[in-house]
Symmetry: C2
Subunit: 414 residues, 2 copies
C-alpha cells in the first residue's frame, strides 16, 4: 500500500484537550480525528487496527460456540419501559422522537433488545444454552467527554449475552467468558487485571471489570505485582506497599485503570420484567437466567496505544499492527533506491502487509512519522541501494543491520 | 457448527406486513427479526451473509486503492449548516438534542463529515487523489417503512468518497467505481442494471443507480432483454415490447427495481460550501472535486434473497452462503447415523463451513427448514448409514446420489 493513498495525516502537535498520551499519539499519528466533542472518526490506520481487534474477538467468540448477530442502535421506548430502565437511566441515555413522535433511545447496551429477540423463540430448556454476541456502535451522552476514546459519546463495543437454564450453567458461561477475555487480551498484547465491581446501571448480582493498568484512567486500582489480585481502591482498604491479602510474595501497587471489559451475572432481572420464560426439565415455567459480557473495541485500541508507546512513538503488537513492514525510500528522485523499495514492497506483499512511504518528504520527516505510526519492521532504502543493500530495523528488539535486498526478502518469505 | 447453538428461529408463517417474497423468506428462515417499524435485528444466519458481503466489498475497494475508515453516526448540526442541508433535508433526517441542548442528526449519508475530515489535511494536488470508504449503519426516518430491509429506517451501507484535482480524474473514479460495483454484484451473484437517475438530496451533476430487476421494488424500470440498456420508466418514454433504442436485437421489458447502489458526481457542491480547497499544479486555489458512491449492504442481502429463491426456499450463491454444507442426521436416537453425521461434519470442517442439524425434530421438519434456510450442498444421513452410505444433494444442479461416506468426504476435500 502506498502511504500517499492511505490518508495518514500525521501532526506535530496534538489537540489542546488531549490530556493523555494515547489521545495525543492517536491524534498525531493520524489514527483518529475528532468530529464533535467525544465523537471521533477512525482514520484508515486506526480502522485497520480496529478490524484486527474485531477479527480476534470474532475468532475467540465463535470458538466457544457463540453466534454473531447485529441489533439496531435505535431502540423503542416500550422495550425500556418493560425493563423499567427508561426512567432509571440518567441523561447519558440519548433519547429522541421519530417523525411520528414515538420515543426512541440510542442503545448504550442491548439487554432489552436481546431479551425481546430471544423470548419469542426459546420456550424450552431443549433450546438452551444460547450465547449471542454483536460488534456494534453504542452511544452514551457523557457529561464531560474526555481522554479521547476512553470516555467518548459514540464507541464500538462487543457485547455477548448468554441464556441459561440454571445458575450452574450461568457460572459456566461466566468463567468461559473470563477465559475468553484473557485469551483475547493476551492475543492483542494487552496486560489486564480482573477487578470485582458493582453492577451499576446494568444490574444483576456479580460483576467484574477487566482493567489495563496505566498512568491514566478513571478509577484508582490497587494490584499485586506478582499475582492476579487487583481491586478498586475505594473498596479494597489497601495502600500501595501493603502486603497482599491473597498471595505471599507480592506487594500492593497503585495505578489508574482503563476499563476495557466488564462482565455481569444478570440473573433474571430482564427475563422476569420482560416475560422471557421457558419450560424447564421438570415442566415448570421459569425465567431465563442471563449473563452479559461487554468488551470495548475502541477502548481496547486506545489502551493498546497507551501500553505500547512512549511520548513520540507507537510500537504495535504484531497481532494488531496495521502493517507488518514499513519500507522507506529516502529520496524519491533516486531511481535506483525507489525501484528497489518498490521491488521489496511487491515481493513481500504476497505474505505480509507492507506500507511504502512514497511521499516526497525529507528523510527526517519520514523517520519521525514512521516512529509515530508504529509499524514494527522497518526497511530503509537509501544510498546503499546502489550496492544492492538496505538497512533493516526490528523495532521490537532494536536490532539493526545493513543487509542485501535478497537476504531481506528471503528473511520474510521463509 | 451445531444448528441448536446457532439460533435459527424458523417459522411457518411470515409476519402479516411482509408483502414481498424476500421479506417473508427472511423472516421465516430466521435471518432477521423486526425490533420496531423499519428497524431489524440481523440474526446469526443473516449476519453471516452480511459478513460475507462486507468482505467482498472490502476486497474490491482495497483493490482499487481505496482506504477504509469509520465515521460517526452522530453528526453535529454545524457541519450540516455549512453545507446548507440542515434546512433542505426533510423529516427523514433524524434530529435530536444532546444533554446540553446542542443539535445533532443521525447520518443518512456522510458528505459533510468526510469533507470536514479531509479539508484540514489536503492542501495540495500532491496529496490527491484520495478514495475513502466506510461500512456503517445509517438512519433515515421513512414515513412508511416497508418491504423489510428495502425501505427500512436503520440500515447498513458502504459509502465511498473520492477527491480529485480535475474533472477528468473524477470521471476516472466514477468509471472505476462502476466497474467495481459490477464486479462486487457479479461476485455476490446479483444480476443488476445501471440506470441514470436524478441527484436528489445528495446533489451533484450526474448520478446512476444499480438496480436489481424484480417483481417488487420502488421504481418501475424498463430494460432491454439482450443489452445493458435500462432506464427509469418515468423518464424513458418506452413501453414493454418496444424495440430498444440502443441495440438492434433486444426488446424492452418492464420490471420493478430494487436499488442496491447509487453513484454521484458531486463536483464541488460540498467543497465550495464547506471550504475544502487545495492548491493546484498552477498554484491556484481550487475546491476539491468530489464523487460519492453508495452500496446498500442490507439491501443487497435482501435482493440476493429475492433473486435466489422461490416462495418456500432460498438457494444462496456460493460466495455469500452462510454455510457450504448442511448435514442432516434424520434420527437423533440412531447412534450409527449420528456418529457418521458428526464424522462428516468434523472431516469437512477443515476446508468448508458446515452446519449440522442436531435438533431432535422429525425428518419432515428438518427438510422443510433446510429448504428454507438455503444451504447449497446437503448431506442426509438416514437408514443407509448402517451400510456406510449417505444421500448427497447438490441443490444448484438438482443432482442426487447415494454415496459412500468416504467418497463424499473425498469429493469435498479434493
Amino acid at each position: 500500500m502506498k502511504q500517499s493513498l492511505l490518508f495518514v495525516p500525521t501532526m506535530k502537535e496534538a489537540p489542546k484537550d488531549a490530556e493523555v498520551k494515547s489521545h495525543r499519539l492517536m491524534s498525531r499519528a493520524g489514527l483518529m480525528k475528532q468530529t464533535a466533542s467525544g465523537i471521533y472518526t477512525y482514520l484508515p490506520l486506526g480502522q485497520k487496527v480496529m478490524n484486527h481487534i474485531e477479527s480476534i474477538i470474532r475468532e475467540e467468540h465463535d470458538a466457544i460456540g457463540a453466534s454473531e448477530l447485529l441489533m439496531p442502535a435505535m431502540q423503542p421506548k416500550d422495550l425500556w419501559e418493560e425493563s423499567g430502565r427508561w426512567y432509571e437511566y440518567g441523561p447519558e441515555l440519548v433519547r429522541f422522537e421519530d417523525r411520528k413522535e414515538r420515543e426512541f433511545c440510542l442503545g448504550p447496551t442491548h439487554e432489552e433488545v436481546i431479551t425481546a429477540v430471544v423470548r419469542d423463540h426459546i420456550d424450552s430448556y431443549k433450546k438452551l444454552p444460547l450465547a449471542l454476541y454483536q460488534i456494534q456502535t453504542k452511544f452514551r451522552d457523557e457529561l464531560r467527554p474526555r481522554f479521547g476514546l476512553m470516555r467518548g459519546r459514540e464507541f464500538v463495543m462487543k457485547d455477548l449475552y448468554t441464556f441459561s437454564e440454571s445458575e450452574e450453567d450461568l457460572d459456566y458461561w461466566y468463567e468461559v467468558s473470563k477465559k475468553t477475555y484473557r485469551k483475547i487480551f493476551n492475543r492483542i498484547g494487552l496486560d489486564t487485571k480482573i477487578v470485582a465491581s458493582d453492577t451499576g446501571q446494568i444490574g444483576g448480582k456479580v460483576a467484574h471489570e477487566f482493567m489495563v493498568m496505566s498512568e491514566v484512567g478513571e478509577d484508582t486500582t490497587v494490584f499485586c505485582d506478582t499475582c492476579e489480585y487487583a481491586a478498586n481502591k475505594e473498596f479494597a482498604g489497601l495502600s500501595s506497599g501493603d502486603a497482599c491479602p491473597n498471595c505471599n510474595e507480592g506487594t500492593i501497587q497503585e495505578a489508574k485503570g482503563i476499563e476495557v471489559g466488564n462482565i455481569f451475572k444478570l440473573g433474571t432481572k430482564y427475563s422476569e420484567s420482560m416475560n422471557a420464560y421457558f419450560t424447564d426439565r421438570d415442566g415448570l415455567r421459569k425465567p431465563l437466567i442471563m449473563g452479559c459480557y461487554g468488551l470495548g473495541v475502541s477502548r481496547t485500541l486506545m489502551a493498546a496505544v497507551e501500553q505500547h508507546s512512549d511520548e513520540n512513538s507507537i510500537l504495535w503488537p504484531e497481532s494488531i499492527t496495521p502493517f507488518h513492514l514499513h519500507v522507506l525510500p529516502l529520496k524519491m528522485n533516486d531511481d535506483v533506491a525507489l525501484q528497489m523499495a518498490n521491488d521489496i514492497h511487491d515481493a513481500l506483499l504476497k505474505t505480509h502487509s507492507v506500507l511504502i512511504d512514497d511521499r516526497d518528504e525529507r528523510p527526517g520527516v519520514k523517520f519521525k512519522d514512521a516512529d509515530l505510526i508504529g509499524i514494527p519492521y522497518r526497511v530503509i532504502v537509501g544510498k546503499d541501494a546502489k550496492d544492492g543493500k538496505v538497512e533493516y530495523i526490528n523495532r521490537y528488539t532494536g536490532e539493526k543491520s545493513v543487509i542485501d535486498k535478497d537476504e531481506l526478502i528471503a528473511k520474510f518469505s521463509g
